[in-house]
């Protein structure tokens, strides 16, 4: 992090804190106030979009730790979200587990499944690992449809209303505060995980796993740890999505989402916590644009044009970023910030 000149740290606590200057605190406070006042002015559909972006941010933080920092490319992230979503639905609908217990439990279950499918990552990487995780998605998808007695098969399961300390969570405003709150927590948590010993080990593994092993990084534990952490985030995001919609079925977690999550990392900036937020915002807004202008395009071509457009726009964004700005929006933002920080020079 580049700091303005004249910023000194006198204690280790100061040195390690995320918000170093008064300006940082000011921006953070402004961001919180801005987020808190969104429900006052935003329309219902904007709130829905914000909630979906919040869920996506939580999930992509997991993918960022797993793929962006540990270099283990996962294209089954949507499948791990599905595990978390179904875990929450089954726990709360069939066994009456309260929401506050079911949510972390769903995360842990998704993490465990992630570790299971992450086992091949000890021997393979790159394209092979992508195929292993793609297979993981389709196997999970198939299992969810097969065990109909448990998961409801193609009909899915409906989830009872969540209660937190006796308060029922209903309506977009309540969900907005719940999910944006968790997304903020997840962002801070993800940032801090990457600053721990494990986070540094992940980066070492990404840059060269053999060299990392020679230097004493235990590949076995850290690769599986990365899978566990990444899939816990995914599981929690999936559980929140199911709770918000009030219903769990497999169509909620399509395969293409796994692809877009990786695309968000590329558009936002691989391995950067802030990049996750940028990427999720960019791709989701593009999808939203597609559904907005799709119907007017449909008049010229055919009624499905909106669906096609929602594939074309994010795809084009990924292609253009890969060619012209491979480090994503984060790098563009950093260049801009450096420029104005050192402006006269």
């Amino acid at each position: 992090m580049s700091l303005p000149s004249g910023t000194y740290a006198e204690t280790y606590v100061q040195d390690m804190s995320l918000l170093r200057t008064k300006a940082h605190w000011l921006w953070a406070a402004l961001l919180l106030v801005a987020l808190a006042t969104v429900p006052v002015w935003a329309s219902d559909s904007t709130l829905t979009l914000a909630i979906i972006i919040g869920i996506t941010v939580i999930s992509v933080h997991g993918l960022n730790i797993l793929t962006g920092n540990c270099g283990l490319i996962s294209m089954g992230h949507s499948g791990f979200m599905m595990v978390g979503g179904y875990a929450l639905a089954i726990m709360s609908a069939r066994y009456g587990v309260p929401f506050l217990v079911a949510l972390p439990a769903a995360g842990l279950i998704a993490g465990a499944v992630g570790v299971l499918f992450g086992l091949p990552s000890l021997r393979i990487k790159g394209f092979y690992l992508i195929m292993a995780t793609v297979s993981a998605y389709f196997i999970i998808h198939w299992l969810m449809l097969q065990f109909r007695g448990f998961t409801g098969g193609t009909e899915g399961i409906s989830v009872p209303t969540a209660t937190i300390f006796g308060m029922e969570i209903r309506g977009n405003v309540a969900y907005f505060y719940l999910i944006i709150g968790i997304a903020l927590l997840a962002t801070v948590l993800a940032k801090n995980i990457l600053r721990t010993r494990a986070g540094r080990a992940f980066v070492a593994i990404r840059d060269n796993d053999l060299a990392a092993e020679v230097m004493g990084v235990n590949l076995w534990t850290y690769k599986l740890q990365a899978f566990f952490i990444g899939c816990v985030f995914a599981g929690i995001a999936g559980a929140l999505s199911v709770q918000y919609i009030g219903f769990a079925n497999v169509e909620q977690f399509p395969f293409i989402n796994s692809v877009w999550y990786l695309g968000m990392l590329i558009v936002g900036g691989m391995g950067r916590t802030a990049g996750v937020v940028f990427g999720a915002l960019a791709i989701k807004l593009l999808e939203q644009t597609a559904t907005k202008i799709g119907p007017s395009l449909a008049e010229f071509t055919n009624p499905q044009a909106a669906v096609g457009l929602s594939l074309i726009l994010p795809g084009l964004a990924i292609i253009l970023f890969l060619i012209f700005a491979p480090h994503g929006i984060y790098q563009l933002w950093e260049r801009f910030r450096n420029y104005y920080q050192q402006w006269p020079f």
Binding site: L119, M131, S135, W142, T301, P303
Partner: protein, 296 residues
């Protein structure tokens, strides 16, 4: 026994389709070390091009195949030059995401143009039904078998006896040495993409004739990646062998195991992915793939 043979025969024609897609993938991977996940979408595009030329424009079969091949050549060249060449030397993920994004864009364009509806042209391909014993071989799979066999043979001969085939084999062996010897690697890459696109589009027209085309046709491309993994990423023979094997096994598994499943099975959809898992755990480089030794 008849049931078994029937499953094997339909599995064979499905397997030849898998092999065709896998072949395109292997050609690109061998020459440029790029993973083309969009191969299945080329096939889908081929199916829709076939529909456009055969049914909408009512061209004869040979003319529509020629026209589709022309489109495929332009497409292959454009993708290689505009999208893949800027990524030379970039990490694996960049190339894979590029081809996936291309796949998304292609699927989107197909939906915008053709509406993503199911299109069929069963009656356009000549109908010959063979009856051997109690097993009837459907005309489409027979055509599929013959034509994909033909394409494979042409490719094999081309690799063996033409100058560009030699250059491609050399590039696959060692790119740097090849360039030092005065062969343009970029030309080889372009040719590889063109061949892959043409093979896929021809396969797509056939598949469209066999079972009709729809958006899920692109999914067959994902399933064909199982073939590539099983056969080894850089083995053309492996791709064909594994393709046929997987097609037959998938059909047998669906035929015999689906009735035993709790909710109706659907094993055909997931079988290739189960195979991928098993192969990656026990034999990550596939049956015929080259083992790479990693150094720091």
């Amino acid at each position: 026994m008849t049931f078994f043979l029937q499953l094997v025969v339909t599995g064979l024609s499905l397997g030849m389709m898998y092999a065709l897609i896998a072949l395109g993938f292997v050609i690109i991977f061998k020459c440029s070390k790029a993973f083309n996940i969009a191969q299945g979408h080329f096939v889908m595009l081929g199916g829709y091009l076939g529909y456009t030329f055969l049914v909408a424009a009512a061209l004869p079969l040979w003319a529509s195949i020629l026209a589709s091949v022309a489109v495929a050549i332009v497409l292959g060249l454009a993708i290689e030059r505009l999208a893949l060449r800027p990524l030379l030397g970039k990490p694996v993920l960049a190339v894979i995401m590029m081809t996936i994004a291309l796949a998304g864009v292609m699927e989107g364009i197909v939906i915008v143009i053709w509406g993503g509806e199911y299109k069929t042209y069963h009656d356009v391909l000549p109908a010959v039904t063979l009856q051997i014993g109690g097993v009837s071989i459907p005309p489409e799979s027979l055509i599929g078998l013959i034509v994909s066999g033909l394409v494979v043979a042409i490719l094999m001969l081309g690799f063996r006896y033409t100058k560009i085939g030699l250059a491609m084999r050399a590039t696959a062996e060692d790119e740097q040495v090849t360039r030092a010897a005065g062969i343009r690697a970029t030309t080889v890459y372009a040719v590889a993409w063109v061949i892959a696109a043409v093979v896929a589009v021809v396969g797509g027209i056939l598949l469209g004739g066999v079972s009709g085309v729809a958006i899920p046709l692109s999914e067959i491309g994902l399933k064909a990646l199982a073939v590539v993994i099983l056969g080894g990423l850089d083995s053309i023979g492996g791709a064909i062998f594994a393709g046929v094997m997987l097609g037959v096994l998938e059909n047998l598994a669906a035929g015999y195991l689906d009735p035993l499943m709790p909710s109706g099975g659907g094993l055909a959809g997931v079988f290739p992915f189960l195979v991928i898992m098993v192969v990656l755990i026990f034999k990550p480089h596939g049956l015929f793939g080259m083992k790479r030794i990693e150094r720091i």
